[in-house]
């Protein structure tokens, strides 16, 4: 009897997934093509993003439009980058990660004071951060995904997710300390 009720709830979720896709399909397809430049690979990236979205549809159920678009963007870009990284060496990312590693390791992430005035500045910086750091940070703090969920969606292990979250936060703090010193 329980499965009957679950499937009734899932009907609403399935409908939500379809609505989201059909509303933003052109944007998502363009995003995928921007990364991959190849139709076939863009198709695969889009399908992977839809699979991920359907599997995690509960997160989408009560999001605002902007939150939905951002989360879909994360899924599509992540799927596209996975295919891109599988096919080619991504030298740019190697350079970016080195930059992050050079940041001050002595900053104490817990004792940081951030004012509301600094939010917008930091958010722009986060937006321009490499996606491998920005996306886990956004998924963790904006969408409240667990480390485990982020690892599953981004196809990383949990330790890697924790490190990237930490490094994203370090970079933001470093920005603040340098720019607001």
């Amino acid at each position: 009897m329980l499965e009957i009720f679950l499937s009734i709830e899932n009907e609403e979720e399935r409908q939500t997934a379809e609505d989201i896709w059909y509303r933003y399909e052109k944007h998502m397809y363009k995003l995928a093509k921007k990364v991959l430049k190849n139709d076939e690979e863009a198709h695969d990236a889009v399908m992977d993003a839809i699979y991920s979205m359907v599997k995690n549809i509960k997160k989408f159920m009560e999001l605002s439009e902007l939150d939905t678009v951002c989360l879909m963007t994360v899924y599509v870009r992540n799927a596209a980058l996975k295919i891109y990284n599988k096919n080619k060496k991504n030298i740019e990312y190697t350079v970016s990660s080195e930059n992050i590693d050079l940041l001050s390791a002595e900053s104490n992430v817990e004792d940081i004071v951030v004012t509301e005035e600094q939010y917008e500045y930091l958010s722009k910086h986060l937006k321009n951060m490499p996606e491998k750091y920005a996306y886990p940070f956004i998924m963790r703090h904006c969408y409240e995904y667990s480390i485990k969920q982020i690892a599953a969606i981004l196809n990383l292990n949990e330790e890697t997710v924790k490190k990237r979250l930490y490094r994203a936060k370090l970079q933001l703090i470093d920005t603040m300390e340098h720019d607001y010193a």
Partner: protein, 237 residues
């Protein structure tokens, strides 16, 4: 400016960044974007499969539930058909809780001292008794009596009405009936407790009297009024 320590700065920053990303995406010019047909078909098929998966899961569950219910019903019916105790128990429950039906099983209302004659008690004979009073127009029509039961029909040739009278040794009589649209009344016949069911029909009544005197069970069915039927019952000797 006073600086405040805010606990959820990461959440605020992440939310703002998420909205900026979303705005950039929504601001993209997609007027020249055409989703290729094969991709459209892939996506449509995917959602159609999802729909089918969910409904087939629901169908599978419903099928399982239906099979379990049918199996339980068959088991109950088999048990009822083959095991008398279960059948009677279920019937008792129906009778007890469902007031449309009544059940009468004779229990002796007398002690051994009240048995009519000692000879009858010792011999255990079936003493046939018949009504000595009948309303005008009724006469004996059929007598199906045997050594241990009386079954007589009295017929009114004017209106074709029948009175049916039965007598059994006590304990052999069990009556179950539908009392929908029927009144059930407790009565006394020669100081013995009995039950009368009164069913109103288009052309009169159908009265059924059931009682016992400690040795025999009696049943009297007539189309007359309750009072007239009781007179017939009182005259049985």
């Amino acid at each position: 400016m006073r600086k405040q320590v805010l606990k959820n700065w990461e959440k605020e920053v992440a939310k703002l960044a998420a909205h900026e990303i979303a705005r950039d995406v929504l601001a993209m010019d997609v007027s020249d974007v055409e989703i290729p047909e094969n991709l459209k078909n892939r996506i449509n098929n995917f959602f159609a499969e999802e729909r089918e998966k969910k409904s087939s899961r629901t169908r599978a569950v419903r099928r399982r539930v239906a099979v379990i219910l049918i199996a339980a019903l068959l088991a109950t019916l088999t048990a009822c058909a083959s095991i008398r105790v279960i059948r009677e128990k279920i019937y008792e429950i129906v009778i007890e809780y469902y007031e449309k039906y009544f059940s009468y099983k004779s229990e002796s209302q007398t002690s051994e001292n009240e048995i009519e004659t000692e000879a009858e008690a010792e011999a255990g004979e079936f003493n046939k008794r018949i009504p000595s009073y009948l309303p005008d127009g009724y006469e004996l029509c059929m007598d199906n009596s045997s050594g241990d039961m009386t079954s007589i029909y009295y017929w009114n040739s004017t209106n074709g009405a029948l009175i049916a009278y039965e007598q059994y040794n006590i304990g052999f009589f069990e009556r179950k009936g539908n009392i929908e649209e029927t009144d059930m009344i407790s009565v006394k016949i020669k100081n013995y407790d009995g039950i009368a069911t009164v069913k109103t029909k288009e052309n009169g009544y159908e009265i059924t009297l059931i009682w016992n005197d400690g040795r025999h069970d009696y049943s009297l069915v007539s189309p007359l009024t309750l009072e007239e039927t009781l007179l017939i019952a009182e005259s049985i000797e």
